[in-house]
């Protein structure tokens, strides 16, 4: 269980987050949505200790992010950042392998190699595993980074817009895979998503932020609804149903 209590954050005078309190259940996919500048990425980076907390507290299974040693947290939670300015020239296999670092501390065992191979297989990267990261496409790089986070084998995986750079084929297949993993009950995901239809189709729960405050925390049915979307995005979005699946026609 992830517990967020009274978290506020500001840069200089501008308030990014205001008094966010919520708890996220174990297992399943939680989507974090909201318009640009709502504070989604900031919340995610606070949750993953990439930025120090100013006020409030955040804990994963009772482990406080501000007090637990960072090497312990690295076995509990992993993050994939949105602005991944990764410029290291590394083969995909080596890159994914570094996801195992929290477990082997530089001395990989057979188990670690197996985990890397599994991750490469799972994300269709095996055939290009010896290519360097600066020699593959943006989408392949993105998949390699997801595979690296996956390889870290943490109970919680936080992904900031993982569908960036992915075409429709890989975007859907990535979400399907994450759903598969979530359904085994072993891992839980918090995913920042821009496309509310992906959120509606794959998430168990949706957390919507607006102007740094918690706007909605509920099921896809609570959010994929014209009135809720109107308050969130300040635009009229028709919602229809297709074979029982809610679809927001946000592009029309």
């Amino acid at each position: 269980m992830i517990e967020i209590n009274g978290v506020s954050h500001s840069y200089g005078k501008s308030k990014i987050l205001q008094n966010i309190s919520l708890s996220i259940k174990e297992s399943g996919i939680t989507a974090l949505i909201g318009p640009n500048g709502a504070g989604k990425s900031t919340l995610l980076s606070l949750m993953t200790r990439l930025q120090p907390l100013q006020t409030g507290s955040i804990s994963f299974d009772g482990q406080s992010v501000s007090q637990t040693p960072t090497r312990e947290l690295a076995k509990t939670l992993a993050i994939l950042r949105q602005d991944n300015a990764l410029s290291s020239r590394m083969s995909l296999r080596d890159l994914v392998g570094f996801g195992r670092y929290p477990h082997h501390k530089g001395r990989p065992t057979a188990k670690d190699h197996r985990a890397v191979d599994e991750a490469l297989d799972y994300f269709d990267l095996q055939t290009m595993s010896d290519r360097f990261i600066d020699e593959v496409s943006g989408g392949q790089k993105q998949r390699a980074l997801v595979a690296m986070a996956f390889c870290q084998e943490t109970k919680y995986l936080l992904l900031d817009e993982p569908l960036n750079n992915l075409d429709m084929y890989y975007a859907r297949s990535l979400m399907k895979r994450l759903r598969e993993i979530a359904d085994t009950g072993k891992r839980s995901f918090v995913i920042v998503l821009h496309d509310i239809n992906y959120a509606g189709a794959y998430a168990n729960e949706i957390i919507a932020l607006k102007d740094g405050t918690l706007a909605i925390h509920g099921t896809p049915q609570d959010v994929l609804e014209t009135k809720a979307l109107q308050t969130l995005y300040s635009m009229e979005i028709k919602v229809t149903q297709h074979q029982g699946q809610l679809v927001a026609l946000h592009h029309l």
């Binding site: 980076s45 993953t48 200790r49 990439l50 960072t70 090497r71 312990e72 947290l73 690295a74 076995k75 992993a78 993050i79 950042r81 300015a85 990764l86 410029s87 290291s88 020239r89 590394m90 083969s91 080596d94 570094f98 996801g99 670092y101 929290p102 501390k105 530089g106 360097f132 600066d134 870290q152």
Partner: protein, 317 residues
């Protein structure tokens, strides 16, 4: 893995060759025949060759580590003010405590090198990540300022000639008893290899390091410490040698990528090879006189560096 054995054999062969290059002609068949020859070997030729190899490996490894810490492949300790700060330290300690032993000079040089590096890293952390070429430029300006300050102080205190020995590196003064500190560089290089993964992760950036459970600050400080120590060791014993730390890690990166665990052996061997070749050129081109290795490297290194800059600008970082 590409065959590093070939590179090691080449290094060994060139090292043997280096033993037989010198003013006194000694051949393979008679080096052990007179006591003078044996003395010459153990007092001058072997120490010099070892010093060259250790220095080359150490400079290249330092360059690779610095490029990870700065997250920029166009920096090395002698182009961003670290070696210059070490030289300033040596000058200051020589002025304030004349006659202090080499080890004291080295410690003071390490401290000033560390300060110089911290200042440089603090400056580049404020630069936009989108313009990677600003980093080496800021480094060049900073090292220019430190060097100018050093020369000014040396000039005012009539130490210019003395200062020159630290500023341009050469091996002609290396004898038994005057190079052994360089073994410490070898130890530091091995230490670097032991924690290579941590430096590789640091090179991926702060967020990636924290995500993988690394104490970012602590690893950077360890890196700064290793760099400051090995840089000042080289400056104290042979003087400043440019370009090795810059070009060798870049060549190794082309071959092996950024994973230091895989590339560091290459970095060390290629660095030793490069300095050895340049030292041999310096010894042979104007035989029996010598051209300092720093000068030879200045010429060769700048061409290689230009090539690396222009060959694949898309991957500059």
């Amino acid at each position: 893995m590409k065959n590093i054995g070939v590179a090691i054999v080449a290094l060994f062969a060139l090292s043997c060759f280096s033993l037989f290059v010198g003013v006194k002609e000694i051949s393979l068949s008679d080096w052990w025949q007179t006591p003078q020859n044996i003395d010459l070997f153990f007092i001058s030729r072997i120490p010099r060759t070892l010093a060259v190899v250790l220095t080359g490996a150490s400079l290249a490894v330092s360059g690779a580590v610095m490029q990870m810490l700065a997250r920029n492949s166009f920096v090395e300790p002698s182009s961003v003010g670290t070696a210059q700060s070490a030289a300033l330290g040596i000058l200051l300690v020589t002025l304030l405590y004349p006659g202090s032993p080499l080890i004291v000079k080295m410690i003071v040089a390490s401290i000033t090198a560390m300060i110089g590096m911290a200042v440089f890293l603090a400056m580049i952390s404020r630069l936009p990540v989108t313009s990677p070429l600003l980093v080496p430029l800021v480094g060049l300006i900073f090292s220019g300022i430190v060097e100018a300050l050093t020369i000014f102080i040396a000039f005012q205190t009539e130490m210019l000639q003395f200062q020159g020995t630290w500023m341009s590196g050469e091996f002609s003064g290396i004898l038994r008893g005057r190079y052994e500190l360089l073994w410490l560089c070898g130890v530091l290089a091995i230490l670097t290899y032991v924690v290579a993964d941590q430096f590789t992760i640091i090179g991926m950036g702060k967020d990636a390091s924290v995500n993988l459970g690394l104490n970012y600050k602590q690893v950077v400080i360890v890196g700064l410490f290793i760099l400051a120590l090995s840089t000042s060791l080289v400056v104290v014993t042979v003087g400043m040698i440019p370009f090795v730390g810059l070009v060798v890690p870049n060549i190794a990166r082309r071959l092996m990528g950024d994973n230091l665990r895989a590339s560091l052996p290459w970095v060390a061997v290629l660095g030793a090879l490069l300095v050895l070749v340049c030292d041999l050129i310096g010894r042979l081109v104007h035989f029996p006189y010598e051209i300092p290795v720093g000068t030879v490297l200045g010429v060769i290194g700048s061409f290689v560096f230009l090539y690396l800059l222009y060959a694949r600008p898309a991957h500059a970082r």
